[in-house]
Symmetry: C2
């Protein structure tokens, strides 16, 4: 199965209050098959280090990079790929995911913090809602990737992992690999 | 379609660092069709107020309640329902969700913070993983409810909503209802 390459753009990170949610966005992106996460807002070296450490242990090639001007970045992305903005105001995912799956061009999935500038809605090729209720950029991203990759992302193999979980009905089993 | 009644139990909430993630757990639970969220750890009136305010605006009957002893609570739950613990160490969701869907007994979905006591793994009827990678209790909960309800949860009708989004390809449209 050929999967589109997906990157996530997390807007307006604020060190004071977003550290954990931005980490959850990054870890969800990684676990569900995205290639990396860009973030704008406050530059935050700890986010980059934390996710790099987890990737070192659990494998794969996930990258985290800072972006200074997210609107310009998203605009430029369109020369080689698609921009998909997840927002509770957008079109229901079930109505559009079929069309989105048809293209294997690389995708930038934009998730916001409180106020996403209106221009992002105009730059995006797709503004998509995962329900029209307020919830979380973390769950929106998870459902989007799950629908895009059709469950294939639940069985990814992460290369060069030092740690691997052996699923158990009760308790924990981790094996160390070298 | 008859849906099982689902409640979420969010363990070990810490006011200092979990406010936003616990809110995202609650909002995800609500948006994806759970009946309410219990939480243990620090008692936090703000979480209860914040979610109540959102439910007042966006409709439905979602409840948030504090639980002092989550292990005892989960044990007692089993007299009338099932306990499902989401953990990266558990059995892959795809292997077990079919069996879980068969029962319409009410379900308590447990999501942890850092260290979930070993006893919870023993109390749970199911320990389920949404990938065996580290990511987020928010995304794990979203995928679990999405798989349990089979997409039905993406089109829920929230009764007595004062606000309602009209999905748009670009921009925002909210209608106020009285």
């Amino acid at each position: 199965m050929e999967l589109a390459e997906v990157w996530v753009l997390r807007l307006s990170h604020r060190i004071a209050r977003d550290v954990r949610v931005t980490s959850h966005v990054a870890l969800t992106a990684r676990a569900f098959g995205a290639r990396g996460m860009y973030f704008s807002g406050d530059f935050d070296e700890n986010i980059i280090k934390t996710i790099r450490k987890i990737t070192g242990l659990w494998g794969g090639e996930f990258e985290v990079q800072y972006v200074e001007n997210p609107l310009r970045f998203a605009k430029e992305w369109k020369s080689s790929g698609e921009v998909i903005h997840l927002t509770m105001y957008g079109l229901p995912i079930k109505d559009v995911i079929g069309d989105i799956r048809k293209s294997i061009r690389r995708k930038l999935v934009v998730v916001g913090s409180k106020k996403v500038p209106h221009e992002m809605y105009l730059i995006a090729d797709w503004n998509i809602s995962i329900t029209n209720q307020p919830h979380s950029e973390v769950s929106a991203l998870a459902i989007f990737l799950h629908e895009l990759f059709e469950g294939y992302e639940l069985n990814l193999n992460f290369k060069n992992a030092k740690l691997k979980v052996i699923p158990q009905p009760r308790g924990k089993k981790i094996v160390k690999q070298s």
